[in-house]
Amino acid sequence: ICVLEGYAKTSLKGRLESLKIAHDFFAPKAPFQAVATEEQIKLLHVQNDLEREYNVKGPTSEGTHLFIDTSVSDTIYNLLVLGQHRKAAKLKVDFKVPDKRYWWLKVRALTHTHDWEALEKF
């Protein structure tokens, strides 16, 4: 399990590579961990694309990523805050997020953007 020390890698590419190794390591005997790792790889790819699309100015002012390395919930939340409801819904399906959690995220995001109209509608 120590394979995951690869988290110390500084580049996303390196991170993905070591996650791949971890996945292969988990695959034969730890199905849950394997699936989780696979999802994480998928998530990082999605986040990479999102980062390029919505964070064109490069790193945000605080010098952090907007998407990369955040959790699934946080990614969806960020998309909702940006008003990208279609993309958020797609992520919900792709990562099998339960309805309940999704609604919570939506409520919080809409409250954050003061989108009271949309909040009332749903």
């Binding site: 500084t10 590419k13 390395d69 699934v72 339960p98």
Partner: protein, 599 residues
Amino acid sequence: MSGAASLTNAVINLLALRESGRLGLTEVLDSMKGPKALVLDPRLSGPLGLIAEVALLREHGVDKIFHLGPQKVETECKNVIYLVRPRTENMELVAEQIHEMEKAGMSKDYSVFFVPRRTMICERVLEEKGVYGDVTLGEFDLDLIPFDEDVLSLELDTSFRECFLDGDRTALYYVARSIIKLQALYGEIPNIKGKGSCSKAVRDMILRMQAERSNDGPPVASEIDTLILLDRDVDLFTPLCTQLTYEGLVDELFGISNSYVDLEPEVLGQSGVKKVKTPLNSNDKLYSEIRDLNFSVLGPLLNKKATYISENYKERHQAQTVSQIRDFMKKLNTLQQEHNSLRIHTNIAEKISAFTRSMPFSTRIEAEQALLVGPDTVNDTIEEAINKQEPLTRVLRMICLQSLTNNGIKSKYFDFLRREILQTYGYEKLFTLENLQRLGMFKRQDSKGPWAALRKNLHLIVEDCNEQNPKDISYAYSGYAPLSVRLIQYAIKPGWRSIEDSLRILPGPTFEETQELSPGARDASASQSSHQRRRNVTLVYFIGGVTYAEISAIRFLAQQEEGNRDYIIATTKLINGDTLLESVFEEVDNNLLIGHIPS
């Protein structure tokens, strides 16, 4: 001694223990002549503050105090003393700082003192970093630090993790040594009882060390008659529950560290933005009266105190004669002190009650009570907490408590929870969950667990719990009697034999025995007890941590037994549910740099 407890009312002379710590420290400082700079491990500055004050350091030539960190040490002094825990990260910092100073052309003498022991691995790191030859190494054997008149702690932050997750026995060795030291100061302890594999290991070590070092120094009369060793993993239920005593809630909410709490200035009625360190110990008369009470009875009590004080102030108007005025002035000083402390605690209590009245808090308490009284599950509450992204420790406390009381979580739900947590709090939490699984705090449901039987046999749930006038230790958790303290209660009266069935289903071996005192000690004890009937003193040693509410419950026991038994509580670390879980969190170094893969 400004902030530390005065210790003068302790049942055994704990000042001697503090004195031995001070002595050790001055020896360290005097090992280098002339003015010196002291570089402290930040983890040590709190505990050290409880045994020595800055003035003492100055007296022994300390010119400037630094905290060990990535920043440079800038000092004119030729001598630099490092006082550190034996951790490899510390060694790297030390080496780096020395290199910096050498590079700057400042040739100095360096000493590194390890608290409490040097380790091979640390020496190795110094060697690798090429500074081994430049430093003088030493040890500062500081172990138990008196936190209050009845509380001692080794303050080893990671002791729970080391003992029960990593299987590292170093902490146990420190525990054993600290007991040997107590025996040297307060005499041999005739009765030893314990539960758990770590306790057993400590007992074996004590007996061996004793055999090895028999007959040095004059025999001392036994002041402590019973030692009870308890492994934290015998009772993991209690720390997961929210503490409901005043002191416990202060800890849950603000975090007590080394008997100080950092408070917002507004809580103290001061201006400014910097948090204010406020000491919490038995020096504060009011605090020692209220710390152990269930929080629900605090309001009326504080109110009564306020009335009492204001009435006393009024006496000033009645004072007619000079002598009356003089009497009043004498009282005024204490009155003002009490007034001040009353103001602080009223403000803290107000903060706490705003918190305890809030929805999330009552939901949490309800969920905990449901699980304890159970068998019950609180899946909805857990899910909601995750969905609201409440702090992970809080969520895990509930999940672990459910897992422990239900002997696991239904397989399908177990996987669901794991997924929810990873997707919400991040993939890297995978390893924290694995740690909890290894500890048995979070698992898939299997056969029937011990909780139902324990609850029944040990009367852990007390229905008619009277928080106002408590008759039982269950007051500390509003109806739940902490398992650990119940075990202590039975150990004293009528003895563990009466609850063998319950002990058998708890993890680890049980032992109960009386050790033969050495002849000298026996004589010393006999001669003393003839002219002075002392109260019985029991030392309870929690290996892996103890919570404030448990301490309160033990103090309550002391008041119960017709006042003929006192308790001293020792532990490796003062904890609450959050700090306990945090210590087993798997920190994942995340060095990801900004930037994405170019397509």
